[in-house]
């Protein structure tokens, strides 16, 4: 029987060797398995890391912090957002099952310190044996907590966005989007977030309307058309036009904005006056004169057709420009696009509030825009600065002179034109209103784009509010004023 025993033992040895074999196989597969959703290894590694805090620009207001909790002998760090919906769209969220958004997503490596604070291998081994808690880096944002709160307050009950940029640096001071959501609810009560209702449909509270919301820019785009008109040298602010109340496009009349008395008719006006009163017919003529290529070329110079450069995840930013369906499109032939309507911001033109704030900031900064940024600096766990964002100029869009002339025209808009409700006592404000038809009755996209003070701009702003029956001057301008007031205080 010993022969049988020996053989049986041999079989069992083989079976146990097979167990070592499959163990090795899973080890070999580990990298691909680790990326799978539901693998707790990565989750636990994340959650046992003391994630960096996120502060507003005052480096005091905490936008994201951790709550420690003891789980089976290890300290877990669960994310909390003390300011709730205040900066939900910029900061975003991170949950245990690793769904992330906003800076929590795009800056994850910095926040978790995976960009490595432990220099040597030896130190890493020591740290692991001792079970040190991994610490991430803190972020200090450029967001001004007070102005951000004001922006959310004035946007309450609307679907819209306010973006404010410091023209000289590109610092994003305000980036508000409504309806907002409470990021603390994402992990456990996501349904509540998703089912949130708002004045527009879908309410889409998770959408960052500042960088993902596409609105017809309407008359605010006249700034770009006017920039092209002046910068090409074809027109001056004093160039005169005769406004019959409409312009003719492909043999059809396109009328000016209608008030109670029907389409407005202004007669003989200068370019400045056309801007002041936002006369469509004049810009329609200018557009036809310049051609779509030139108008779009200037749009590009202001940043259209590219995602605005920001630290938030690329998939949370969209480019502005002409849209065909859901696709950005570039007309190949002049006849592909209705240039007259394009010139006053209709056609199939769509822009994000951030893009329009960049237009205002570029004009405010003398024709050369600064790349917008929202992370001011990254602080290491030992309180030293890991990196500080250096303001980066973009390619010059327009000449200093053009910018100066545009600023002067924009000031008229707020003193005697359509944007009077953006006036701030004692401050020279430049601006441009917009009221874009969306094709749906009483559902206008209303805008105010501007900056202040005119002589030394500290803030450029864009306010966009959708689904309104009123005008940009009536709805968006006063909101811009309130936010700018806080920022200029």
């Amino acid at each position: 029987m010993n022969r049988e025993l020996r053989r049986l033992f041999f079989v069992f040895t083989l079976l146990f060797a097979a167990l070592v074999g499959i163990g090795s196989y899973w080890l070999w597969r580990a990298p691909s398995l680790e990326a799978r959703q539901g693998n707790p290894t990565q989750i636990v590694r994340d959650v046992t890391t003391k994630r960096g805090l996120i502060y507003a620009s005052d480096a005091e207001t905490i936008l994201a912090r951790n709550r420690g909790r003891q789980v089976s002998g290890r300290r877990w760090f669960l994310r909390r957002y003390p300011t709730g919906e205040l900066t939900a769209h910029v900061v975003g969220y991170t949950t245990l099952d690793r769904s992330r958004a906003g800076l929590e997503k795009s800056m994850n490596d910095f926040l978790t310190g995976t960009n490595s604070n432990l220099s040597t291998v030896l130190e890493r081994v020591r740290s692991r044996v001792q079970g040190d808690i991994r610490e991430g880096n803190d972020l200090v944002l450029t967001i001004d907590a007070k102005a951000q709160a004001k922006a959310l307050e004035v946007l309450q009950g609307t679907c819209g966005s306010i973006v404010a940029i410091e023209p000289a640096t590109g610092r994003v001071l305000v980036m508000a989007s409504t309806p907002s959501y409470d990021p603390n609810l994402v992990a456990r009560r996501f349904d509540e977030v998703l089912n949130q209702r708002g004045p527009c449909r879908p309410a889409a509270p998770l959408l960052n309307r500042s960088t993902q919301g596409l609105y017809a820019p309407g008359s605010t785009f006249k700034l770009v058309t006017a920039a092209a008109a002046l910068d090409t040298g074809r027109y001056t602010p004093e160039s005169t036009f005769v406004d019959p109340g409409y312009c003719t496009e492909y043999g059809q009349r396109v009328f000016n904005y209608s008030d109670q008395n029907g389409p407005e008719i202004f007669g003989r006006v200068t370019l400045g006056e056309a801007m002041e009163h936002s006369i469509n017919a004049v810009f329609c003529d200018i557009g036809q004169e310049l051609g779509a290529d030139t108008v779009l070329e200037y749009a590009r110079r202001f940043g259209f057709y590219e995602k605005p450069p920001l630290e938030t995840p690329a998939e949370e930013r969209v480019a502005s420009g002409l849209y065909e369906g859901n696709q950005l499109f570039v007309p190949e032939l002049e006849s592909d696009v209705d240039v007259g309507r394009l010139a006053f911001g209709q056609e199939r033109l769509l822009a994000t509030p951030t893009q329009m704030a960049m237009v205002a900031a570029t004009i405010a900064n003398g024709g050369r825009g600064m790349e917008p940024f929202v992370v001011d600096r990254i602080i290491k766990p030992d309180d030293s600065v890991l990196s500080r964002t250096k303001p980066e100029p973009m390619a010059r869009a327009i000449t200093r002179r053009t910018a100066f002339e545009l600023a002067a025209m924009m000031e008229l808009v707020t003193t005697t034109g359509t944007g009077r409700r953006a006036q701030i006592p004692g401050v020279r404000v430049a601006g441009k209103t917009g009221t874009a038809e969306t094709g749906r009755n009483d559902r206008n996209d209303t805008w105010f784009v501007g900056f202040a003070p005119v002589d030394n701009p500290e803030v450029a702003i864009a306010v966009a509010i959708s689904d309104q029956s009123g005008t940009g001057g009536g709805i968006a301008a006063p909101k811009a004023k309130e936010v700018m007031e806080v920022l200029l205080r």
């Binding site: 029987m1 010993n2 022969r3 049988e4 025993l5 020996r6 049986l8 033992f9 069992f12 040895t13 079976l15 146990f16 097979a18 167990l19 070592v20 499959i22 163990g23 090795s24 899973w26 080890l27 597969r29 580990a30 398995l33 680790e34 799978r36 539901g38 693998n39 707790p40 290894t41 989750i43 636990v44 590694r45 959650v47 909790r69 003891q70 789980v71 089976s72 002998g73 290890r74 877990w76 669960l78 245990l96 692991r128 044996v129 079970g131």
Partner: protein
């Protein structure tokens, strides 16, 4: 060095390893464990020392490595259970103590294991009765779909574990009696039905009961042990192949009929077809194994629990304890555990080879085979090598019945080993010399 001194030194080595492991868990989990709990391990190892003293007095010629191996395996088990839930570790420690008391009692009381042969039918019937017990209303308990437990008020017992030992004893004595008939004169000759009959009846009854109690792992274990012992007794591969063929046919039929089995198989073939539902256990087990790396996260540092404090893998302390171990000790730690099993099986078979009578060879060969097969079934199951069936990992898994039964098996193996070695050395037999057990 004498056999018993070798046993003592090995036992001290095992104690050192277990103490280090326990201390390591304690250090990593200070917040959830109390310093008092570290003294448990001292008591635990003290019990093994007493067991050693009893073998020294009673079975001085027994194999010296099996007791230290058992101590190391149960020690690793208690350490892992302690890491998973300190309260359970205490209970498991109590079970090990009970098992060691029975081990000692068995050695002293069963002076001659050959007596077991004469009561083989009683044992066979007792085994079936034990298997039926959980199905009886009132005392039966169903956990996770399988009706395997008997509720005795203060504790819950799994009689199947004891039945396993009895069935092997029965098969060993029966196969020894009918060995020559079963072997036949030609490789193709089949034994007369009257010899095969009782065998198939007892074994068949066991299988039927297991199917009724929905215990796939148990069924597979009994069937494999039966085939292994049939092979040991007859040396005929044909029986094994025929048995496997029958099993394949039976498995196919069961697969078609029982949705439970079909589910298990399809999960095994593709765990990720339903990673949050039916495949959850296996998928999580594989994650745990793969993420352990070569050396693991370290004891007490693995990613085993959610923020709510529940384990990612259900039945972590029983069926999936190996997954937890590999996560924290890595592939190297897992392979070391597998090596311990192979060593235990090797020593077991060695005892069987040295045994002089056919009954002892079959008994120890069968018990060791059962031990190896049981370990393989659950280890293969949780690693995805074979379909998963719920069964305990001998000595390591949490569960009193299993530990007690395995320590009883250890006692039997050591008794046989002692007797065989005495024979070989020309020493007098234990039963003839001793007047009273401990007096010697």
């Amino acid at each position: 060095m004498s056999l018993r001194n070798r046993e003592l030194v090995s036992l001290l080595g095992a104690s050192l390893i277990v103490t280090l492991g326990f201390a390591s868990v304690y250090l990593a989990q200070q917040s959830t464990t109390s310093s008092a709990s570290i003294s448990y391990i001292g008591i635990f190892l003290g019990l093994y020392l007493i067991a050693h003293l009893v073998t020294r007095a009673q079975l001085p010629y027994a194999d010296p490595y099996l007791l230290p191996l058992a101590a190391l395996l149960t020690g690793i088990g208690v350490t892992m259970i302690y890491r998973i839930d300190p309260a359970l570790a205490l209970r498991q420690g109590v079970w090990v103590a009970v098992g060691l008391v029975l081990f000692v009692g068995g050695i002293i009381l069963v002076r001659d294991y050959r007596k077991l042969e004469s009561i083989k039918y009683t044992l066979g019937i007792a085994a079936v009765v034990l298997l039926v017990l959980p199905a009886l209303p009132g005392i039966g308990r169903t956990i996770n779909g399988a009706t395997l437990w008997v509720d005795l008020g203060p504790f819950v017992f799994q009689p199947g574990e004891l039945a396993k030992v009895l069935i092997v004893v029965f098969l060993a004595s029966y196969l020894r009696d009918r060995r020559d008939v079963l072997r036949g004169s030609r490789w193709y000759s089949l034994p007369p039905l009257r010899h095969l009959g009782p065998l198939i009846v007892v074994w068949g009854a066991a299988i039927v009961v297991l199917m009724l109690t929905n215990d796939l792992g148990g069924g597979l274990l009994y069937f494999s042990v039966f085939l292994a012992m049939l092979y040991l007794a007859t040396g005929r591969i044909l029986y094994v192949l025929g048995g496997l063929g029958l099993f394949a046919a039976g498995a196919l039929a069961v697969y078609r009929v029982t949705p439970h089995v079909a589910d298990r198989v399809s999960i095994w073939l593709d765990p990720w077809s339903d990673p949050n539902g039916a495949g959850y256990q296996l998928v999580q087990s594989i994650y745990a194994i793969s993420s352990g790396g070569l050396f693991g996260s370290g004891l007490g540092r693995g990613a085993l629990f959610t923020s709510e404090g529940s384990s990612y893998i259900p039945f972590l302390e029983t069926d999936f304890i190996y997954s937890a171990l590999v996560q924290e000790l890595g592939l190297v730690g897992g392979a070391a555990l597998l090596l311990l099993y192979v060593m235990f099986v090797y020593r077991g078979f060695r005892v069987a080879m040295l045994a002089t009578d056919g009954f002892a060879k079959l008994l120890i060969g069968g018990l060791t085979a059962a031990f190896a097969i049981q370990a393989f079934l659950i280890l293969g199951g949780v690693t995805g090598l074979i379909p998963l069936t719920g069964i305990t990992l001998p000595f390591v898994s949490y569960g009193g019945s299993s530990v007690v039964a395995n320590l009883l098996i250890l006692g039997l193996i050591l008794s046989v080993s002692d007797r065989a070695n005495r024979r070989a050395l020309g020493e007098p037999e234990r039963g003839l010399l001793a007047v009273g057990g401990l007096a010697r």
